[in-house]
């Protein structure tokens, strides 16, 4: 799960990590008051989940309250299109108004879980202000890493190693070590999957300051962090994905094609989408229906397809294991009873309780295109989406 920059900075501040003075505003008038309170030059930053805000015009440096008000009126209510959002953009409903800082240097600091090392790793670089993937490509020797053993936590020697790696000196070494120790505490206390300060600036006065921050959280651990869960801004998420989630379909991702897919299992769902593309079509979504004991999620999947005007045909591909084919078949029959299904549906069933599932579909009298296997299903649904099968 993601949160906004202003929320991330509030959390950093709770862990005694220095952030610029500032406050979040929803209206131009609020922004004016905040800017007046700060005094001097301020930065007005659009609060969206996507990166690449600066280049997209989502960050404005202005000279005082009147200009902060004007910048906010331009941003709030608009949609910001960055290289991470797609052409439709994401809505801006809040801005962060902060004191403008004089950065002498821009550094990079982050913690994430390293899949190969199976440990949290702290990464630091003197090349801040750009994406770390770019740094890794162009100047990998400028990235310093230190693996953290949760049994003993982050140690001062690790802080020194990384701080010297970022070319800090004097009192900054101890200051940076403290900051890193606190960031690690924040990371583990809150089950983060990523804690990134980019850039971490050294001000003209030689102090460290978290100028921008990104915190992501482990979805699997949210059950023990109700306070974090409440920070989620659903407006920032893809509406179809929010809808799916509300209907109990947690593994749904919008794609850009016109074939609706309902599959059990994430790997199989990905493979189905790959196969559809191989057959010359394009999936409108990734949908792993998971394991179910009732028919509701099947019916809701069909509701999703009907609510998605792009859909021209649907492929149901179920290989029953934990999920039982008869339950899925019953769900499909119920969906047909409850709704008018305006598109052709291709169904491929296999696995646990197959015969019972086939009997239910046959007895329900619904019209659908039967597929023999995986490939047959993909081929038929692509043809159906092109209008070749009814």
């Amino acid at each position: 799960m993601k949160i906004h920059e202003y929320q991330a900075k509030a959390l950093l501040a709770q862990y005694a990590i220095p952030v610029p003075r500032g406050k979040v505003a929803s209206t131009p008038a609020e922004a004016r008051t905040i800017a007046a309170g700060i005094g001097g030059r301020v930065v007005v930053k659009a609060q969206v989940y996507a990166g690449g805000r600066g280049k997209a015009g989502g960050i404005k440096i202005v000279d005082g309250p009147a200009e902060a008000e004007k910048a906010t009126s331009q941003l709030v209510g608009s949609k910001l299109v960055t290289h991470q959002t797609g052409p439709e953009g994401v809505p801006v409903s809040k801005v962060l108004v902060e004191e403008a800082s004089d950065a002498a240097r821009e550094l990079y600091l982050s913690i994430l879980i390293d899949g190969s090392g199976r440990l949290p790793v702290m990464m630091a670089s003197e090349a801040g202000g750009m994406e770390i993937e770019e740094v890794a490509q162009s100047v990998p020797e400028k990235i310093f890493r230190s693996y953290i053993d949760p049994a003993i936590g982050f140690q001062p020697f690790q802080g020194r190693k990384l701080a010297y790696g970022m070319d800090l000196d004097g009192g900054q070494i101890a200051e940076a070590t403290r900051l890193m120790t606190n960031l690690y505490r924040l990371f583990t206390d809150n089950d983060c999957s990523l804690a990134e300060i980019n850039p971490l600036v050294v001000t003209a006065g030689g102090k460290l300051l978290a100028l921008d921050a990104k915190l992501n959280f482990d979805d699997n651990a949210l059950y023990r962090h109700k306070d974090i869960q409440e920070l989620q801004d659903k407006e920032q998420e893809e509406p179809l994905e929010v809808q799916a989630h509300d209907w109990g379909i947690n593994n749904y991702v919008k794609m850009d094609g016109d074939i609706g897919c309902m599959v059990n299992g994430a790997g199989l769902a990905m493979a189905v989408n790959d196969l559809i593309q191989y057959c010359g079509g394009k999936a409108a979504n990734f949908l792993d229906i998971g394991t179910l004991n009732n028919t509701e999620r099947v019916v809701n999947s069909f509701k999703m397809f009907i609510g998605d005007s792009r859909i021209r045909a649907v492929l149901v591909n179920i290989f029953g294991g934990m999920a039982r084919v008869d339950v899925i078949a019953k769900g499909i029959a119920e969906a047909y009873q409850q709704m008018n299904i305006p598109f052709p549906v291709v169904i491929r069933l296999a696995g646990t309780n197959l015969e019972e599932g086939q009997r239910i579909l046959a007895e329900s009298g619904i019209s659908f295109i039967q597929a023999e296997d995986f490939y047959d299903g993909a081929r038929k649904v692509v043809e159906a989406a092109k209008g070749g099968m009814k």
């Binding site: 991470q84 879980i113 899949g115 190969s116 199976r118 440990l119 949290p120 993937e133 890794a136 053993d149 949760p150 049994a151 583990t188 089950d191 999957s193 482990d218 979805d219 699997n220 651990a221 059950y223 023990r224 593994n251 991702v253 794609m255 599959v263 059990n264 299992g265 994430a266 790997g267 199989l268 769902a269 990905m270 493979a271 989408n273 790959d274 196969l275 559809i276 593309q277 191989y278 394009k282 999936a283 990734f286 792993d288 290989f319 029953g320 294991g321 934990m322 296999a350 696995g351 646990t352 296997d373 995986f374 490939y375 993909a378």
Partner: protein, 291 residues
């Protein structure tokens, strides 16, 4: 022969009394797996499905000689369940539970170091040696005893691949679902090593997916440590970057996580890549005929 599980496996089930635990324990018993004990704290000294239930893994092992554990414990308690099994010294833990917090798994991995336990999963469909033993939730009937090893990060995609193999008359020595999480207990390399050493495995089918670098590490091992042929497919060519595709581990961050990168690396290492997920069976058949 086979790897990890066979006729000598004496299975205990952690979370045997839950609904999923019950359903799948029954299926394992029907398949012929020797289920000797269940563990549910607070339900010791009872019987469930005709199997004696114990309060702790340790007592279950002492009383029944269990040497492997199958876990259906809910995600909030699963890491603790794995730690308990490791502490009791069991040789194999197969964890079906999906949704264990990553930081819990970091602790599990630290505790595993230097211990005799091998962990498969979490978020695994299980391990199965056809005709001998089934430890997991996979559909037993689609399997056929034989000499092709199968390793996969996915559950249902593996069922599809296995049924392709079976319908072509190609049997399996052991099928191992290493699970869809970001920090699996055993990696592709761990299982490839076992298959390489197993006399009854002639070739290996490897089903990867987007995210992480496990496939690249497998490629590295295949290029210098495997003499047996490997057929591979990596799911998720069409997955958009930055989106989690169902599995916690299936998210593309940076170019290494892409399916195309992974298949390229595996191919360069000498694996034969199936052109589509529907052709893994046929590709394996060709590889077996030419080797």
């Amino acid at each position: 022969m086979s790897i990890l599980v066979d006729e000598s496996t004496r299975l205990l089930v952690q979370g045997i009394t839950g609904s999923e635990g019950s359903f799948h324990t029954q299926r394992c018993i029907q398949y012929g797996t020797k289920v000797v004990a269940g563990v549910t704290p607070g339900k010791g000294d009872t019987k469930h499905l005709g199997v004696p239930v114990f309060n702790t893994v340790e007592s279950a092992m002492t009383e029944t000689g269990a040497n492997a554990s199958l876990m259906f414990v809910p995600p909030a308690f699963a890491a603790d369940g794995i730690l308990e099994a490791i502490d009791a010294g069991i040789l194999l833990v197969v964890c079906i539970t999906e949704g264990i917090p990553v930081l819990d798994m970091v602790k599990v991995h630290l505790y595993l170091k230097g211990k005799p336990t091998r962990l498969i999963g979490p978020n695994s469909p299980g391990v199965m040696s056809p005709g001998k033993c089934k430890v997991g939730i996979m559909v037993g009937e689609i399997h056929l005893p034989g000499n092709v090893g199968v390793i996969s990060r996915s559950g249902t995609l593996t069922y599809d691949v296995v049924s392709q193999l079976t319908s072509l008359g190609i049997g399996q020595s052991t099928c191992v679902g290493i699970g869809g999480d970001a920090l699996p207990g055993s990696t592709f390399v761990d299982i490839l090593k076992l298959f390489q050493a197993d006399q009854n495995t002639a070739a290996v089918v490897l089903i990867g997916e987007i995210g992480g670098t496990m496939e690249q590490e497998a490629a590295e091992f295949i290029s210098h440590g495997m003499t047996k042929p490997v057929v591979a497919f990596v799911a998720g060519s069409t997955a958009p970057p930055g989106k989690r595709m169902g599995h916690a581990g299936a998210i593309i961050i940076g170019s290494a996580g892409k399916a195309s990168e992974k298949m390229k690396t595996l191919s360069q290492a000498g694996a034969t890549i199936a052109p589509t997920p529907a052709q893994v069976g046929l590709t394996t058949k060709k590889v077996l005929e030419s080797s």
